[in-house]
């Protein structure tokens, strides 16, 4: 892998940038691999990278039905944080955040991880206490968290409506200073480039149409580019995990829903943090290009179409303008949708399955992007060792049978309620 740096840029500038190598190869699939990862998004590529880097497994194919990073990796609102309260989530997301902190250097690809801080606004005494409860769990587990009062929030987010006579006045907020945003596409590209350099075959335009199972063991996949054998098969196909599970004969605790996101036209810097509302579901930040990036709830009905409808956009914009009334004359530039697996407790699944050699990484609900490095890291561990790491040992399918669910919202077994 030719290293990127200001010096390599300068060197290549002299030759008109004609000599940059391809960031990754476009190989044809081989007949067999040690490991097949289905899904060439951030999670799948990160899994391949950590399998190679941490576990010495390099005979790997990553199969992507479209273009790599084209699923939710390239469709999310780019928020990275580790502010979770429940065992299972807390340390997993923190491990992921720590990997983010060194990711640009590790991959030699600038993923522009910007630790600008995430504030969750509290609008009632109950919410204030709940955020303190969560912040305390974080602090006790060694994670940064601060509780801000209203004036401190107002100082950090000057355009936020913090007036006491607001419909839902801001009482304060939970701040995670190390949280922030990253450049989503770069994450897929950075992992792809590094995985490729270890010899991982990244095969685009290759859709998996079937999982071959013999005697309770996964032995290969059928694809639009032919059958491919493998000793181990892992899926990382946000939004389609239930569908892929069904190919292997598994009934999974998932529903697939569409989540929309949107950006405004680019503006000069006016919002330095990521801010989430505590009234309605909404999260807002400003990209380095200047666009306000925001989103909210699901459309709330199952769908595999990567298209949403207008009522959700209206609600998200209503919430956003209630928080930031002066953005009224700013324009919405673009909106889009991505399909996501909603699990029955709102937490992910990274585990072995009842089928030997078949592993699942899915159920990321609203928040798979921030988990990308952590998920790849523990999924690689799980596949390589055929058993979970401590960090993902709670993210099992079994938990729904035993009742050991990880339900941060306490919403129960309704997928779209999380």
């Amino acid at each position: 892998m030719s290293r990127y740096s200001i010096f390599s840029l300068a060197r290549n500038a002299l030759t008109g940038h004609r000599n940059w190598p391809k960031a990754w190869r476009s190989p044809n699939p081989k007949p067999a691999y040690d490991v097949i990862i289905i899904g060439g998004g951030g999670h799948g590529l990160a899994t391949a990278y950590y399998l190679a880097k941490n576990h010495g497994v390099t005979n790997i194919a990553v199969l992507e039905k479209g273009w790599l990073g084209g699923g939710n990796t390239g469709r999310n609102t780019t928020i990275v944080r580790s502010n979770y309260a429940l065992p299972g989530n807390t340390l997993f997301y923190e491990h992921s955040l720590k990997l983010w902190e060194g990711l640009s250097q590790d991959l030699n690809f600038n993923v522009m991880f910007s630790q600008r801080g995430v504030i969750n606004l509290a609008h009632s005494d109950g919410q204030r206490d709940a955020y303190k409860r969560r912040g305390n769990v974080m602090r006790i587990n060694g994670i940064d968290a601060e509780y801000l009062d209203r004036d401190e929030v107002a100082d950090m987010v000057p355009l936020l409506d913090t007036s006491p006579d607001a419909r839902y006045p801001v009482k304060g907020g939970l701040l995670q200073p190390r949280a922030g945003t990253a450049r989503h596409d770069a994450v897929a590209w950075g992992y792809a480039r590094s995985a490729d350099s270890y010899g991982v075959d990244i095969i685009q335009n290759c859709e998996v149409t079937g999982i071959d199972i013999e005697n309770g063991r996964a032995v290969g996949v059928q694809t639009t580019r032919g059958a491919i054998k493998a000793a181990k098969i892992g899926t990382a196909v946000a939004g389609h995990t239930g569908h892929l599970g069904a190919m292997a004969g598994l009934r999974l605790p998932f529903e697939t829903h569409v989540l929309q996101a949107m950006v405004s036209e680019p503006l000069k810097p006016c919002l330095d943090m990521v801010v989430t509302s505590g009234v309605a579901h909404a999260y807002i930040s400003q990209s380095d290009k200047g666009e306000l990036v925001f989103g909210g709830d699901l459309d709330f009905y199952p769908t595999y179409a990567q298209r949403g409808n207008f009522p959700r956009i209206e609600e998200v914009v209503e919430t956003m303008l209630t928080m930031f009334p002066t953005f009224s004359r700013v324009r919405l530039m673009r909106s889009w949708g991505g399909v996501i697996d909603m699990t029955m407790d709102g937490s992910p699944i990274i585990c072995k399955t009842p089928i030997d050699g078949f592993y699942i990484d899915g159920g990321w609900c609203y928040g798979g992007f921030k988990a990308t490095p952590g998920s790849g890291w523990v999924f690689a561990h799980t596949i390589a060792n055929d058993q979970p790491h401590e960090l993902n040992e709670r993210f099992t399918l079994k938990r729904f049978e035993t009742g050991a669910v990880i339900d941060e919202r306490g919403a129960g077994a309704t997928a779209h309620a999380h």
Partner: protein, 978 residues
């Protein structure tokens, strides 16, 4: 006319009798009614209107409408300022002010233009390759990058304007008021169908009086179709007052229409493509159709001397109109080796150079165009050859062919296809009830557009049952105008995306580095990601990539067009549903009274509830403690109207309730209440409340305030979907009844005085009893239930009478020293009694966790019973409800603290910290005279008496606490029953 040196004395659609003054970058200019800001700037000879995003190169006006990537201005100032506004779509008004963007300190001298000198170091995606070392400096780099990026400035004052939203339904919706659209609307309108015709411009391009006279046709001008959603729902954005300095008082600025159309006709036209050649971004280089539009519609000469540069026939018409407006056409440069005689006829007396191309554009003062250099080109490769020819000019009018405006078609889920002859993507198979016509369908002939429009309008009307006029036949098969793609194969700074400064070299680099799929190309180079959403760049970019990959354009693919078509204001989307109107506010019948007493309020869902009533000479905390103490000593009344109330009736009402509550209800007689708990299907606690048997087959159940909606949905789902055989009917009556709790030792005396016909003696009306009476004909429901643990009642009266009974209680009880209390005191009273609410009912607890195991009937099945038996819900080590008191008897227990045995334990690596539980509620107890709390702690029921720590690092508090029984006051229940 002073200053408008590029304006002709006659012609155009402007009204010269209405001169308008405006400023650009602080300088005064004049224009006319009917001008756009862009046409007025050109009339005044203003060439440089902005700076580009990355290299900060000076930029001029490229287009005349939606396609404009360069001329984005900050419109107005103060509260009405508006960033990134396309000058080509701003209607000029008197007093308009506009400022250029993305430059510092001034448009003429922009310090960041130095980026242009270092452009070799800044190829596409350069930021992915650097700024990585040292690791902690990215935040510093980022600050600089953010400051340089962005474009306009967001307003920082409240928007003074009003926005409205409106639903509309119609038989046929026509988008686009050009020849095709008007023709379609007319045909549909003649059939009697209800028609809406939407046009973005201030007027239709064809004046059509017949249309205006039809009652069944609504013509919306200044209205842009922004989005095409499922089930033929379109979003239209109407600009009602944007062409004026400010809306009139109470006038709406913009109205968003949500139109459900049975049939849709898209007549959205086509947009011209630029050509890609070196320095094609110099101010003065513009689309031929734009130069033509300024000449014909605004009587504005885009310059004095023009070179027309084209690869197709349409620019010849543009040249003709420019010439007619007085622009000297120095030459028409055509990349095609040959042109037809009819085309050549259009350019009589004009020099035409076929088989040539511009290889450079020279710039003069301020960067504006002052000439071009041409070369002959190789007929196959397009490579320049031979000796250069220089031509002086101040305008280059270019045409790279036309893209049908298929954005809405694509949004509708229609399949687009590539048409090689037109070198453009055109609509293919429709997915919804939709027809694309005219230029939007790749039909560029005027007469053919009109016929296509007529036929589509008539067919659409016919499809929804109207008797529509007959189809007309096209004069003959008009062959599509050939317009082969061309771009200069070499040369520096050949811009493809003007707004984002993406050049042909950048696309080459993306190709070499493997970012070859359309989406990778877009995302790596930012091609087409600007506010113009690639209207002028996408197809050229694709063509260049296709060339590198030696594929046909359709094999490289196309991108999805995402809503909105062109940016729309957030204010317009939200309408009036923001601020105080963000959500409905639910008020109880007594809200105004609470407000008049100066109560502070908190939000509970949509409800506003009084927290406490201020008292002179007392701090808020003292006032709250006073209220709580007073209830325990005397009597208080509290507004509990917000509790959910569900009337359950039917022969199987009892059976139904037995299935949904854990409690055994078979022995519940008429006239009695019971405390009940509901589980979710997954076995965790859902909600609690009371069940009162009003009659043999009628019950009233209550829910917590926040769960009223979810509980109703849960019960209705079971009743309607899973158990339709049960005769049970549910009705939410939460808002029909006002609720007042009367609590304290004097509550019985107070109620006895008010309702003298009711026997309040303990035997006649015991704890958990229910009585009905009436007062002056108003029905009254009395429940002897208690949240505070005191002798207490709850009273329900029809909501309209709530305030009467509230004041009657206060007046009647004056001698008994009755006071009102709020939710703060209520919260203290329930903590003292160990009653659970929100933080304890967190959706993760079992009935046993809360000490409700005894209520779970073993004699009947109920919802949640089976999954509540799962291992994790019954294992040891679950967190159970406990009381908490500070070990020192006085230090407050921190809200939101976690409970641990060792607060000094170091943070863990992979195994979660040993947290035993959490503080769920905390307060100072006036009854006990010290702080107390409730918590959920691992095996808490077995730990009463143990000392642990309530640890709150986030507030730097750590307090030793002793675990106790959660019922602090009157554990034996003497007060309740007495």
């Amino acid at each position: 006319m002073t200053g408008q040196v590029f304006r002709n004395g006659a012609g155009g659609r402007i009204d010269r009798t209405v001169p308008l003054s405006f400023t650009f970058d602080g300088k005064n200019y004049q224009g006319f009614q009917g001008d756009t800001l862009a046409s007025a700037l050109l009339a005044n000879g203003v060439r440089v209107v902005g700076r580009s995003f990355k290299y900060h190169r000076p930029r001029g006006i490229l287009g005349a409408g939606f396609e404009e990537p360069n001329a984005l201005v900050q419109l107005g100032d103060g509260a009405r300022t508006e960033p990134n506004t396309q000058a080509t779509r701003v209607e000029l008004f008197d007093g308009l002010t506009a400022t250029s963007q993305n430059r510092w300190p001034s448009l003429q001298f922009d310090i960041s233009a130095i980026n242009g000198l270092f452009h070799r170091l800044l190829p596409a995606g350069f930021y992915y390759k650097t700024f990585m070392a040292p690791a902690n400096l990215w935040m510093t780099y980022e600050k600089i990058i953010r400051r340089a990026a962005g474009m306009g400035r967001a307003p920082t004052q409240m928007d003074p304007d009003i926005y409205a939203r409106r639903f509309a339904h119609c038989n046929v919706l026509v988008i686009g008021g050009g020849p095709a659209g008007v023709s379609a609307a007319l045909a549909a309108g003649q059939s009697g169908a209800r028609v809406i015709l939407a046009e973005d411009n201030p007027q239709l391009s064809v004046s059509e009086t017949e249309l205006a006279d039809m009652d069944n046709v609504t013509v919306l001008t200044r209205t842009m179709a922004a989005a095409y959603y499922d089930h033929n729902t379109l979003i239209l954005s109407e600009r009602i007052a944007d062409h004026k300095p400010a809306p009139a008082p109470f006038e709406t600025r913009q109205r968003m229409w949500k139109v459900r159309a049975q049939q849709v006709v898209l007549a959205t036209g086509a947009l011209e493509r630029p050509l890609v050649f070196p320095n094609n971004d110099r101010p003065g280089v513009m689309l031929a159709s734009a130069a033509q539009c300024y000449a014909a519609d605004f009587a504005v000469r885009a310059g004095n001397q023009a070179v027309v540069f084209t690869n197709n026939d349409s620019a010849y018409g543009a040249a003709r109109d420019m010439k007619a407006a007085g622009i000297d056409i120095a030459a028409i440069i055509d990349t095609r080796p040959e042109i037809s005689d009819s085309t050549r006829e259009l350019a009589t007396n004009t020099k035409v150079l076929t088989g040539h191309a511009i290889i450079d554009v020279a710039s003069g003062r301020g960067g504006a165009t002052r000439g071009v250099t041409l070369k002959a080109i190789h007929p196959d490769t397009g490579a320049p050859k031979g000796s250069p020819i220089d031509i002086a000019c101040d305008v280059v009018a270019m045409s790279g062919g036309w893209n049908p405006t298929i954005h809405l078609f694509s949004q509708s889920k229609g399949k687009i296809k590539y048409d090689g002859a037109r070198a453009a993507f055109v609509p293919g198979q429709s997915f919804q009830q939709e027809r694309s016509i005219g230029a939007a369908n790749g039909t560029f002939d005027h007469e053919a557009c009109i016929i296509e429009g007529h036929n589509a309008g008539a067919a659409a009307a016919r499809d929804v049952g109207f008797d529509a006029p007959d189809a007309r036949t096209s004069p003959s098969g008009i062959p599509p105008a050939a317009q082969p793609l061309w771009s200069a194969p070499t040369g520096a700074k050949r811009f493809v995306d003007f707004q984002n400064d993406v050049t042909a070299d950048d696309i080459g680099l993306a190709y070499r580095e493997g970012y070859q799929s359309v989406e990778h190309l877009k995302r790596y180079t930012t091609l087409g990601m600007g506010t113009d959403q690639g209207r002028t760049s996408n197809v050229n970019g694709l063509a260049i990539m296709a060339d590198h990959r030696r594929l046909d354009i359709p094999e490289v693919g196309t991108t999805t067009f995402r809503p909105p078509f062109s940016p729309i204001t957030l204010g317009g989307i939200a309408g009036w549903h923001t601020g105080q109107n963000f959500e409905a506010t639910r008020q109880s019948a007594m809200s105004a009274w609470h407000e008049a007493q100066g109560a502070t309020f908190s939000n509970a869902g949509l409800w506003r509830r009084p927290e406490y009533y201020p008292r002179t000479g007392m701090t808020p905390a003292e006032a709250v403690h006073h209220e709580a103490r007073h209830v325990r000593e005397k009597v208080g009344v509290v507004d509990v109207s917000t509790l959910g109330k569900i009337d359950v009736q039917g022969r199987d009402a009892l059976e139904f309730l037995s299935r949904v509550y854990i409690n055994n209800l078979t022995k519940l007689p008429v006239g009695k209440c019971r405390y009940g708990v509901m589980l979710r299907e997954d076995g965790f606690v859902f909600d609690d409340g009371t069940i009162t048997r009003l009659a043999e087959m009628r019950f009233l159940v209550t829910t917590t305030t926040t769960h009223a909606g979810p509980v109703m949905t849960h019960l209705e789902y079971l009743a309607q979907v899973q158990w339709p055989e049960l005769d049970v009917h549910l009705l939410s009556v939460s808002e029909d009844w006002a609720g007042i709790a009367i609590a304290g030792p004097n509550s019985r005396t107070l109620l006895s005085q008010l309702f003298q016909d009711v026997d309040f003696a303990n035997e006649a009306f015991p704890f958990m009893g229910y009585r009905e009476t009436n007062a002056g004909g108003v029905p009254v429901r009395l429940f002897r239930i208690s949240f505070s643990g005191e002798h207490a009642y709850e009273l329900n009266v029809p909501a309209d009478y709530g305030l009467n009974f509230w004041t009657a209680l206060l007046e009647t009880g004056a001698d008994l020293d009755v006071i009102p209390y709020g939710t703060e005191a209520m919260n203290i009273l329930r903590i003292e009694k160990g009653h659970v609410t929100g933080a304890e009912l967190n959706g993760r607890v079992t009935a046993d966790d809360l000490g409700f195991a005894g209520m779970m009937s073993k004699l009947k099945p109920f919802v949640g019973q089976v999954l509540a038996r799962r291992d994790a819900l019954t294992a040891k080590g679950r967190r159970q409800l406990v009381g908490l008191v500070p070990a020192d008897g006085e230090t407050p227990i921190p809200a939101g603290a976690q409970i641990l045995a060792d607060p000094d334990a170091p943070p863990p690596e992979f195994t979660p910290a040993a947290i035993l539980g959490e503080v769920t509620s905390n307060c100072y107890s006036p009854a006990l005279g010290h702080p107390i709390g409730l918590g959920l702690v691992e095996d808490g029921s077995d730990r009463h008496g143990d000392t642990l720590y309530a640890h709150s690092p986030i507030t730097s508090e750590t307090v030793a606490i002793t675990l106790t029984n959660p019922v602090f006051v009157d554990p034996a229940g003497g007060r309740l029953h007495g």
